[in-house]
Symmetry: C2
Amino acid sequence: MKLDALARGCGEWLRGTGPDSDIVVSSRIRLARNLAEFPFIRRCTETQRRAIARLVRERVAEVDAWSGTEYVDIQGLGDIDRQLLVERQLISRELSKAEGPRAVVVEPQETFSLMVNEEDHLRLQVMHSGFDLEPAWNKINHLDDLLEERLPFAFHEQLGYLTACPTNVGTGLRVSVMFHLPGLVLSREIDKVFRGLQKMHLAVRGLYGEGSQALGDFYQISNQLTLGKTEEQLIARVAEIVPQLLEYERKARQTLLEHNHKELHDRVSRALGILRTAKTISSEETLLLLSSVRLGINLKLITDIDIATVNRLFLQTQPAHLQKIRGRELDTAERNEERAIFLQKHLPAA
Amino acid sequence: MKLDALARGCGEWLRGTGPDSDIVVSSRIRLARNLAEFPFIRRCTETQRRAIARLVRERVAEVDAWSGTEYVDIQGLGDIDRQLLVERQLISRELSKAEGPRAVVVEPQETFSLMVNEEDHLRLQVMHSGFDLEPAWNKINHLDDLLEERLPFAFHEQLGYLTACPTNVGTGLRVSVMFHLPGLVLSREIDKVFRGLQKMHLAVRGLYGEGSQALGDFYQISNQLTLGKTEEQLIARVAEIVPQLLEYERKARQTLLEHNHKELHDRVSRALGILRTAKTISSEETLLLLSSVRLGINLKLITDIDIATVNRLFLQTQPAHLQKIRGRELDTAERNEERAIFLQKHLPAA
């Protein structure tokens, strides 16, 4: 795959369009599937894993909807390329660090991807920009059907789809909505909101999934249950909290605008000032400052930059992206300098 | 006096010219004098103080060298105007806060001034830009002679000039050199250097004299002794340490450039970035950031701003200056906003 081109571009899910995209960055749904004729990954031999990868590659190639996708052999990639795919959320950290034959099939616009030989044989994912769960569900449901016609899945009459981990059994479905919640963070209401979500059996994660910190005020909300409900019910469960969370965040932003306008404008304006002038800057500080800029654009405190640019910079200032774009390996100090140069190039003063 | 015009302008001593003005901001000399026919200030009645002020005003008006100077009655000034004179170092905090008849005579270019009824009847001061002690001494010596022809000073054959405080007896002279020492501050060598100076009976003070903090990395070095030496010897004592201090500071800057170039450039560039984008900023933060910018200009890391502009901003972003320029009283929050607006106006992006 032309990973260089990938690094320079930006997936559909980061375009910053779609419903409520001032707060909802992306909607993603994934399905966990296993092939009936093979044991679960942890019990597979290397030969079996290779056979799975080959089989999937062949069958996928037969499907019209999958034409144009690229099959990427993870084993054959260098560290930077693997990390690049993680940063783009096309593969999990686990798949990047695993051993043995494994792959990801990527649609060039990154609207969907298929991990092969991760925790399950197949992990199909659809990503849409903004709050767009229903179209995402229709899309993944269709892609899944097309796969199932050619690849017999492990399915149990009563339990549903069988998966390596019991927490995924049933639908094998995870619905995740990525929010940008700087208002709730600044107003210190975020913890309270999250405690409420957890009571509703919804999981809250940072930018890079489980265990990752909420860098740049990004939070993923997703379902914890997969069993005993239909896919539509599980999706509805996540979807129904979105308007509420949107309202909380909008209210927090409005309150900040009304009662702390000057401080907020100061924070946002300085953030852009620093991004435009730093000569060395860490990934963490960049996320923090870009988050303020993103908020500033949405509140019209910043008018000379668009959301798509900021969304893209969130991604392209990550370590692997920087190295890929620069065309060589860089140590931390070099990356911090390169990041500053990159930011200044892409955030020209008005 | 047209204090409005004063607030908008900039004294000669802040022009940023003169020898070694990358490090030495100004050279100032003051002479403490008392009129023989009056008791010291602390023992003066209000009527006597008024008589002193009137007498000085009359005699000064007779001297050609003093034509063009303005006599400012401190008692008749509002708080902001008094503080303005303190910020410009034309009067001391003490004179500003004292009661009773008192004044300052100011030369429009601010190359010299004369406080009347401070701790002593007269405190004559000459200020030059850069390291320029000898011309400053020649100037003040001449001005003092002209005053002495018309105002008999309290003088004792053995002790010399008599002053209210014994520490000023003899010459009544204080020589102060104001340094900008960000290199020694950043390299954490400043305390070591100051301990050395104190052993040599030299005093180290901050921007606004005794008890003030070293805001913006500005330090005043001055003599502690006034008795038992001639004026020339006392001045030489301060003057001889200047080249050494210049060397220390230059070495510190060079070392930073060689070993921490990127960090230094980052610090300097961000400082300017913040000054150009903040929407609210305190006086302290402004001094701190302007200090980095001043260092950056001297090290040619910043090329689109000149030292005179930064020197002027050090002064004009002080509270009284801001209020004077804005034309009305401002509370702290308003000043912080006004300061940000002022900085952005006077530090336009290249």
